[in-house]
Structures are given as C-alpha cells and as structure tokens.
C-alpha cells in the first residue's frame, strides 16, 4: 500500500455494514469515485449506528472487510486512493 493511500478505520469495536439498512444498495463499490464527506460505510456498536465519511476525495481502491463482519477498534476498513 503506497504512501498516498488514505484508509478509513473503525472508531469502535462493532459490526461493519456496507449499506445503511439490510437489503439496501451498498454505499460504495471498489473502483468508485467518491467525494469528501461521502458516507462510505456504517459501524454498529451496541445498537448505535455511526456513519463513516471519507475525509478525502478519490477512488475506492479496496474494501478490506466483508459486509456484516465484526471489526475491532482502529481496524482498517476501506482503502482510498486520493485524487
């Protein structure tokens, strides 16, 4: 992973969701262009949902976790290649 890669990390231990609700379309796909403050995924911890937004614009390079998988605090979730 290059120096330029920007990584979305989980702020809390929880469950990783790629959409805002079960059955909804995924928020982002690999290869997709995103803008600053776009919601890229959700983390649920203790029934509280947190939206994770990208602080950079760029291309979604790799989604590192499967939808609905458990994640740890500070775990890398999504790699973004900034513009």
């Amino acid at each position: 992973m290059g120096e330029k890669t920007y990584i979305i990390i989980s702020p809390v231990m929880g469950t990783f969701y790629r959409s805002t609700a079960p059955g909804e379309k995924f928020l982002v796909e690999e290869g997709q262009k995103i803008n600053i403050s776009d919601i890229v995924c959700m983390i649920e911890s203790m029934k509280i949902f947190t939206e994770l937004r990208s602080e950079q614009s760029g291309i979604v390079k790799k989604i590192l976790v499967e939808n609905e998988d458990p994640v740890m605090k500070n775990q890398a979730l999504i790699e973004i290649e900034p513009d």
């Binding site: 702020p11 809390v12 231990m13 469950t15 649920e44 911890s45 203790m46 029934k47 509280i48 458990p70």
Partner: protein
C-alpha cells in the same frame, strides 16, 4: 397449573433475573444463547441451554423460528421474553400460542392493541384520559398552526417531523411568537434534516416522566404498584429511576393509579405492564404509551412494595388469580436505580465494548445488583450497552441518595468506560438531591 419448565428468550441481566425467579419457584429453566454469549452467566445458571445462532440479534435473539424450535426441543411449557428483543412482538406471542407454548406476557392481540398509537389515542380520549394535544398531522401554514395553538393553549412547541434530539424545536408563548417561530423552525428543519415538515404540540413545562406499574390477571382483576419516577434521561434513554416519586403524594398516586387501571381495562390488558405518563408542573398528566413487558427499572418497585414482579408474571401466565389486593400495597421506604452502561460519558456516551479486566462490586446494607458481568467478561458490541443495574433501598430519599453515593464510590470496573463516574456527579447535584428534576435535567446539568 404452574409451569415445569420455562425458556427465557433473552440474554444479559434480565435473563438472569428471570432464572432467579424461576429457581425460587422450583421451575426448571432453559437459556438460549448466541455464539457471542456461549460463556455468559445466564447459560451457566440455567438448567439447560440452547444455541440459537450467530451473534447478530437478527439471526438469534430476534429469530422467532429458532426460539420456538429451542422451546419445542426442550419441551418448555412457557417462554419468558424479558424486555427488548421479541418481548413486544405480537407475531412472537402468536407463534407461541400456535405451538401450545404459553407466552409470559399479554396476549398477541393485546400487544397489538397496546402498540397501535393512533387507536390508543382515540380509546383514551373516549375514556377522558388526556394525551398531549396538538396537530396530529404536518402543518401546511402558520395560520393553521395558530388555529391549533388557540385550541390547545399556549405555550406550544413546534417540532421537525424529520428531527429528533431537540433539534429543530421552537417554543412559542403567543400568536406573534408562533408566526415568527413557524418560518424559523421550518427553515431550520429543511437545513438540518432536508425536510421542512413541522408539527405542533402543547408545550409541557418542566415535564416529568412518571409511570405506573400494573398487574392484571386473566379474570379481570387489576392492581397498580404505584409510580416510578424516570425523568433522569438522556436522548429519551432512562438512566436513573426511583420509586416513589418526590412529586407524587398519596392523592395524586391514587389518581394516576386509577387512570392506569382504566387504560389497562379498556384494552383488556393482562399480565405485568406499565403505563407511561408525562406530568406537568401543575400535576396535569398526559398518557404517552403502554410498555407491554417487564421493564428494566422494575426492581425499584419490587424494593418498595415487596412484590416480585417477575414471579407475578409467571403466576398470572400460568392462570392463577391475583392474590394481592390493592389495599395490600403499602410503600415502604425509597428505592433508586442507576443503569450501568458501557458507554463513555466523556465522549458523548459513545459505546465502549471491550474486556472487563476487573470488577469490585458494592455491597452492604440495602444494595441490590442485577448484572451478568464478572471479572474477565467480554462486553461485546452486538447488544445494547446495559451491563448492569445498581439498585439501593433506604428508609427515605435522602438516605437512599447517601446510600447510592456510598455504593457508587465502592463500585469499580476496569478495562472499559462506564457511566459510574457520571452518576457520582448527578447524585452530588443540588437540584437532583432536592428532587427538582424534569426530563431536561441532564441536558441542563452543569
């Protein structure tokens, strides 16, 4: 006939609470657990336990099929649903009925009636019990807002239909203020929630959340177990509860109790339930909703009335008549409860799951702890943040406050953040000690 075997369709402290009630009655217990809870205390305490699926609630504790299968496999006569999860799910109560398993709670139709807010509003109006008056629908113009405000009486509050948590709300004391508040509130709602729709309610000044615990058997007998004061909340989550309420005297208690029983009779409610009211500073009370289950805060009622609410639920569900009469209910002393949550008060009450390295529990006179946690327990992120309840009993409110402060000082949980330190501040607060509280108390606490 009393049940031989009860399956508890829940986890955590409430599963343990139900197991304890059963054990004292000589009833066998079946625990259910998800993959995340296989080492939990409720699994260890029960006579038998069944794995009902993966950690995600949707696939385990909320799976009606998995739970009914577990009950059939273990030949349970009845299911206790606890609170949360499937406890107020009419389909679950119906599935129990269809499989000849007794659901320990109100019947499916009754749960549906309790949950139907607009029908409930009509029923209550017919009974002469007040609900918070206001516009039932979204307001199309400030003229319409003024018409409704004139009917319900000032002050009124405008609320954003898309909102919550206090944002987009505006209070108006007269027509001039309402006209200007209407356009501001609508604009704010558009910016904050992308939806300009607003509705109007009569503004309740210094509202208190006061609820009445009731018990009703299958033969039309009802009693109430007085009130619980639950005004100490944050974002509509109760954090501290007490019984009795320092705001309720004997006359008002009788009035609230009669109203609660009237509602229960009207919807043919059975088993344990709670009628929630919002009470204004002049002791006008407005019905909010029915909680068709045992509540988190039930222990404060148990400690001042001496009635074991969970055992009563079991007896009523097994078809027994209520043996306790209204005149048997005498309040003795004062009880207070702190909900111990795995959240971080210094970080906006963000969830704080993780490994508990060590715990020291408070003890001594007048202390009750309902919890499932222990040393080296892993608080997982899959379920809600309640990890225990610290409940105290003393002869009066000042003594209960002192006892709670003493217990909080003894209580130590290492490894995760909890609300213990926050409660120490609340119990030191002068306004709280004087009982000068309302549902906005924590927002305004310095």
């Amino acid at each position: 006939m009393l049940f031989k075997k009860i399956l508890i369709a829940n986890r955590g402290e409430i599963a343990i609470r139900v197991i304890r009630a059963c054990r004292e009655m000589g009833i066998q217990t079946i625990a259910v657990f998800s993959d995340a809870d296989k080492d939990s205390l409720h699994v260890k305490y029960a006579d038998d336990a069944v794995n009902i699926g993966p950690a995600l609630s949707r696939k385990s504790y909320l799976s009606i099929d998995n739970i009914i299968d577990a009950a059939k496999k273990t030949k349970a006569d009845a299911i206790h649903p606890g609170y949360g999860f499937l406890s107020e799910n009419a389909n679950f109560a119906q599935a129990c009925f269809d499989n000849n398993i007794i659901f320990i709670g109100p019947c499916a139709q009754c749960i549906a009636r309790a949950g139907d807010k607009s029908a409930a509003r009509q029923t209550l109006t017919d009974l002469g019990i007040r609900v918070i008056p206001g516009s039932d629908d979204i307001l199309s113009s400030s003229d319409l807002a003024c018409d409704i405000a004139a009917k319900v009486g000032y002050p009124v509050i405008l609320k954003a239909a898309g909102g919550g948590g206090g944002r987009g709300m505006r209070i108006a004391n007269n027509k001039e203020e309402l006209v200007s508040a209407f356009s501001t509130a609508s604009g704010e709602a558009r910016v904050a929630f992308g939806n300009p729709d607003i509705y109007l309610e009569k503004y309740i000044e210094k509202p208190r959340h006061i609820e009445i615990q009731i018990l009703g058997d299958n033969f039309g007998n009802y009693i109430h177990l007085a009130e619980r004061e639950c005004s100490i909340q944050l974002r509509y989550q109760k954090l501290i509860e007490e019984s009795p309420s320092s705001f309720v005297d004997e006359k008002f208690r009788t009035k609230l109790g009669k109203a609660a029983i009237k509602i229960a009779k009207a919807i043919k409610y059975t088993n344990a339930g709670t009628m929630e009211f919002l009470v204004d500073k002049n002791k006008n009370f407005y019905f909010m909703e029915v909680n068709a289950r045992v509540q988190v805060e039930h222990p404060v009622t148990e400690l001042v009335t001496g009635v074991d609410i969970v055992q009563q639920q079991i007896l009523i569900a097994s078809g027994e008549k209520l043996k306790i009469k209204q005149e048997d209910i005498r309040l003795n002393g004062w009880s207070m409860e702190c909900r111990i949550n795995a959240t971080d008060p210094n970080d906006n009450f963000m969830p704080s799951p993780g490994l508990i390295e060590s715990i020291i529990f408070p003890g001594g006179p007048g202390i009750r702890i309902d919890t499932h946690i222990h040393d080296k327990y892993m608080v997982t992120p899959f379920y809600d943040s309640l990890i225990g309840k610290l409940i105290v009993w003393a002869q009066d409110r000042p003594a209960a406050i002192n006892r709670m402060r003493r217990a909080l000082a003894e209580f130590e949980i290492k490894g995760i953040e909890t609300t213990i330190g926050f409660y120490k501040k609340v119990f030191e607060n002068n306004g709280f000690q004087k009982g000068d509280i309302d549902t906005h108390f924590l927002e305004n606490m310095k």
